[in-house]
């Protein structure tokens, strides 16, 4: 028993592991909360697009010597709001509008990266995340924004649910549906940017989608589903961190693999509890 405790506590004698744990738990909580909306409203591509589109923001952040998260946030928020505008203005579908913004912005990021060879960051770090390298400042920014995200989701819960389930009914009832959608997209943008540092561009979607999709199969009411997926998200994030420490695996992929394994277990292991 004592040996187990030692094994569990051992990694956190290192302060970089403590910082990583803090970010892992925050990401493990926030991603599934937004993920509940992402999987039920079909926003997975939007999330993936956001994760790629913030690349120039991250680089500009590095160039200006400010925290790269702060560089990425405005781009993510701008994209979240612009996609709707492009959709309305051109009549193309949402996924086309996202594709345009995603590709254009990511390309700009790659060009910037090429033009500024002295950056203290590699493409690999951006794509895979580097949770073991987060600074104390990163932890504070993540924690602060997590409070904002959680507060907004709680305060607007019943309105966001209404608009997600029955957008026309919500509009008739007098809710500001476009405004609520923008709030949701901005929150999504914030969470995507915060998750980037943990798991990187490519795996953001895994943390957003997988725990929520796992819980979706077990629970048929939204709030219990969110709570269960938060549990799964934190479990995957923390377990991923441990396996990263003990098995020397890259932490982002380890978290994603654990989340995916839980998903597979529930999907194919617990067929008896079918939803319908």
């Amino acid at each position: 028993m004592e040996a187990l405790w030692d094994a569990l506590l051992e990694p956190f004698r290192f302060s970089f592991m403590l910082r990583a744990l803090a970010v892992a738990v925050l990401v493990g909580v926030m991603c599934p909360l937004l993920g509940g909306y992402v999987i039920t409203r079909g926003l997975a591509f939007m999330s993936d697009g956001l994760a790629h589109a913030v690349m120039p923001g991250l680089i500009v952040g590095f160039l200006l010597g400010i925290n790269p998260l702060l560089g990425a946030l405005p781009i993510a928020v701008a994209m979240a709001v612009t996609v709707g505008a492009i959709e309305r203005r051109t009549g193309v579908s949402a996924d086309t509008a996202i594709g345009i913004m995603f590709a254009g912005s990511f390309a700009l990021g790659l060009v910037l990266l090429k033009l500024t060879p002295a950056l203290p960051v590699s493409v690999e770090d951006l794509l895979l995340g580097q949770i073991l390298g987060v600074s104390a400042e990163d932890v504070w920014i993540t924690g602060g924004l997590a409070v904002v995200v959680l507060a907004t989701l709680t305060l607007l819960h019943k309105e966001l649910v209404f608009v997600s389930f029955d957008p026309v009914g919500a509009q008739v009832a007098g809710l500001k549906t476009t405004w609520l959608d923008h709030v949701l997209f901005v929150l999504l943008a914030v969470v995507v940017v915060l998750t980037l540092q943990a798991v990187g561009t490519i795996l953001v979607m895994a943390m957003l989608v997988v725990p929520a999709a796992t819980a979706y199969q077990v629970v048929r009411s939204f709030v219990p589903m969110l709570l269960l997926s938060v549990g799964l998200g934190v479990l995957a994030a923390v377990a991923g961190l441990y396996s990263s420490f003990y098995l020397n695996l890259p932490s982002g992929p380890a978290m994603t693999l654990i989340a995916t394994a839980l998903f597979m277990l529930v999907t194919f292991g617990a067929r008896a509890r079918s939803r319908r």
Binding site: L155, V161, D166, G169, Q171, V172, L175, S221
Partner: protein, 266 residues
Amino acid sequence: MLYLVIGESLKRGYLNGVNSQLPGAALTVQDVSVVYDGQAALHHVTFEVARGQLVGVLGPNGAGKSTLLNVITGLERPSMGSVLVYGHPPEDAKRLVAYVPQHERVNWRFPMTAYDLVMMGRCTVLGLFRRPSRLDRERVLECLERVGLTHLSKASVGTLSGGERQRAFVARALAQEAELVLLDEAFSGVDVGSQESLVEILLGLRNEGKTIVLVTHDLTGLARRFDACLCLNHHVCAYGPPGVTLTPELLRELYGAHVGLFAGGI
């Protein structure tokens, strides 16, 4: 807190104000036209619905029925003409109107129990940032009981039958404390037996003074039980009690030659 108390009394006062000046007409549609790209979806539509009536809007697909609902709910502004809901323009009457959406316009992937769905009706009653109290929860259970869904309150709406879904949405309208209930394509995906029990429930609400306008493209025999039928094909073909409006000639004008297939049932 003081703010909340004042807000509440203003809200109540506003609603009482509306109730006290009910002149009879729940809905007044005056010479409404809606034009898209030179095509008239609605052409000089005029009618009035008295308080406590159940009115069916009948017409084929593409006859402008949904546009009419959009104009009544304030989602769309008419190109000309005016709409009054209990004497107010639609934008100011949102709290008086509940809407039962078309099946296709709801996100059925969203995990939601029948209870959650009805609780949604309390959303506008409560207002921003306020959480449901014990009173709200009791009200939701009453509304579920009213439509005979108590035993399914914990069931996922995705698993409910078409008729049960419509009843759950009607319960939401009740929880919203609306005076005017609009149902878009009320009978689509609802089997004949359930259509009947839905109309039974709606007639019960009408008897309590609620005003109900339901839209359907089905030519249903149940239309005989409505207080009035509005036959719509871009313009008003006929409006009045079903005995007067649902004549073979009018139905032929409305639905074309195929009406022979249905006329026996009407």
